[in-house]
């Protein structure tokens, strides 16, 4: 059966959700997904990846450091070895880093951050946002291998797979070496991964104003804190939290914008969220144009009340 290669990220053998979604999108084409995993604990990912639709598992071993160009070479080799017709990964920082490298090695055109991914009669067609989401383009891949990254929170995870056959391959190694990762404090959720994002803007007045945003995020439990560029540029929040065209693109179940005006560059990063809530004291703020629900009011008055209500709702569940 024709196969499709999926690069899977994991933490000590637990696949990341965005990778499971990419695997689900691959399985949904009807082709046989081959999952490629690398790094410590990779072999432990066999069970969850089989369950999520992987027909085969390629475990890359060796190499005392992660090397992005090494992994790209491993992927390109696996595409060749299995005669895969496509390579997909999550549009995460690793996926984005690998896409062009692999596409270059295979001399194929890359398609980044796709929001649809289909294959019909051997031809791949995807839709992807351009110009910061202001337009959507539908393109057909005419490369021999369709190379794509897929936007997270967009594709469904597959269930009910059988046991995947596991093969082990030694890494080719690469020139660039990852020498360390300084983990974020207290295992905070990344804005791209969280089911709920509570973002704050200049309306919070100062860095300390984010206390009420952090409290609301903590009340949800599965939430991350996001920020507008204005507050990142003022050094109230780190750039890793910035949502928007020059920050991150997020598509959570619930996006709460607090004291954010809703500039086009901010909307670029969050307009595909499932539900958007805006809290702003200016009833004319453009954020209300994209919000499903809005409260016109002072964040310092509304947020503590909302945090209490969410705490109570969570306790009652």
């Amino acid at each position: 059966m024709t196969s499709i290669l999926v690069f899977v990220e994991h933490r000590d053998g637990t696949p990341r959700r965005a990778s499971l979604e990419a695997l689900g999108a691959a399985a949904a084409t009807g082709l046989a997904p081959i999952a490629l995993v690398t790094g410590p604990g990779a072999a432990q990912a066999a069970a969850p990846l089989s369950a999520a639709g992987a027909k085969k598992l390629v475990v890359i071993t060796g190499g005392d450091h992660y090397s992005p160009d090494g992994t790209a070479a491993d992927i390109a080799a696996a595409v060749g070895a299995h005669a895969a017709v496509a390579f997909v990964a999550a549009a995460s920082s690793a996926g984005k880093d690998l896409l062009g490298r692999v596409a270059g090695l295979l001399d194929c055109a890359p398609l980044a951050d796709c929001t649809t991914f289909t294959c019909s009669g051997g031809v791949f067609t995807v839709q992807r946002p351009i110009l910061a989401g202001k337009a959507l383009v539908t393109v057909q891949s005419q490369s021999k291998v369709c190379c794509a990254t897929l936007r997270s929170n967009t594709f469904a995870v597959a269930t009910g797979g059988g046991a995947a056959e596991v093969t082990t391959v030694a890494t080719k190694g690469g020139k660039v070496k990852v020498t360390g990762v300084a983990a974020k404090g207290d295992a905070k959720l990344d804005v791209k991964e969280a089911a709920v994002v509570v973002s704050g803007g200049r309306g919070l007045r100062e860095a300390a104003g984010f206390k009420i945003v952090e409290d609301l995020a903590a009340a949800f439990g599965n939430a991350a804190v996001g920020a507008s560029r204005a507050v990142v540029d003022s050094h109230w929040r780190p750039h890793s939290e910035q949502v928007g065209q020059t920050g991150k693109t997020v598509a959570p179940q619930l996006y709460v914008a607090v004291g954010i005006s809703g500039a086009i560059q901010h909307l670029a990063g969050m307009r595909t969220s499932k539900v958007i809530v805006a809290i702003n004291k200016d009833a004319a703020a453009p954020i209300f144009k994209v919000a499903d629900y809005g409260i016109v009011g002072d964040a310092f008055e509304v947020l503590p009340a909302l945090t209490e209500a969410v705490k109570q709702a969570k306790a009652a569940n």
């Binding site: 992005p68 070496k177 020059t246 560059q265 670029a268 409260i295």
Partner: protein, 250 residues
């Protein structure tokens, strides 16, 4: 050291977008262009590197001749040379054919270090820099927020979902620049005057067929009209009710 900054001229990020009559491209009428946000960072890092390690900076773009306006601004900031790989149909080029044309020119120029932006804010692909590195067979580090370079290699930091990653690499290399890496300088009067005298090379890029076919360009569906549930803290119960019973996200 020969250093290149790859830059692209793209529509301003607050541009209003219209679809052309063919339904498969963006209508360029009325669009105002500037260098892509991250390409300013690439130019700045190239200039800083030249100041530290010596060498020459060339700004390179694949585009139409009207990109000379932006390239001249780069010359005014201190770039030594500027080249346009002339392609009136640049907007329709895919990342692969763009990267192949740039790679050919980079080899001709004998460069050892190439700076790109993290992403060009028109097609949002984040692919040309990494593709270049594969075609050139060079090291590549992406989305760099901190960089230490020597004449033979360097270390870099980049932000990932897991935290700050540190990387070590050797030259030649392609480096893609993320926000935080530097603060782009403004051109001074002296630079602006000097740039007027410099010539901008225009050459034809190698012709490579596109490997993607655009079927359709459309505007995203407008979000369903929302509603204001109320004013101030008193509106919280109404919001909770909507989130729980209507949106079902609680």
């Amino acid at each position: 050291m020969k250093i290149i900054a790859c830059v692209k001229r793209v529509p301003l990020t607050d541009a209003l977008v219209k679809v052309s009559a063919d339904g498969a491209s963006i209508d360029p009428t009325g669009l105002v262009y500037s260098l892509s946000f991250y390409d300013d960072l690439a130019v700045e890092e190239a200039l800083k590197t030249k100041e530290k390690l010596g060498g020459e900076v060339t700004v390179l773009t694949l585009g139409a001749s009207d990109a000379s306006k932006e390239l001249r601004e780069c010359l005014a900031k201190g770039a030594d040379h500027a080249t346009i790989l002339l392609d009136p149909a640049w907007a329709a080029r895919d990342a692969r054919s763009t990267a192949k044309a740039l790679a050919t020119r980079i080899l001709e120029l004998g460069a050892e270090l190439v700076f790109c932006g993290r992403v060009a804010t028109d097609r949002d692909q984040s692919a040309v820099g990494t593709m270049l590195s594969s075609y050139l067979g060079w090291s590549c580090v992406t989305d760099v927020t901190k960089l230490e370079l020597t004449a033979t290699g360097g270390t870099a930091e980049r932000e990932t979902e897991a935290g700050i990653e540190t990387l070590a690499f050797s030259l030649p290399a392609v480096i893609t620049c993320d926000k935080g890496l530097n603060e782009p300088r403004l051109a001074g009067l002296k630079g602006i005057m000097a740039a007027k005298k410099k010539t901008i090379d225009e050459t034809k890029p190698v012709d490579i067929e596109s490997a993607v076919k655009v079927l359709k360009v459309e505007l995203p569906a407008a979000r369903k009209a929302g509603r204001i549930v109320g004013q101030g803290a008193a509106a919280v119960p109404a919001l909770m009710d909507a989130l729980r019973n209507e949106a079902k996200v609680l």
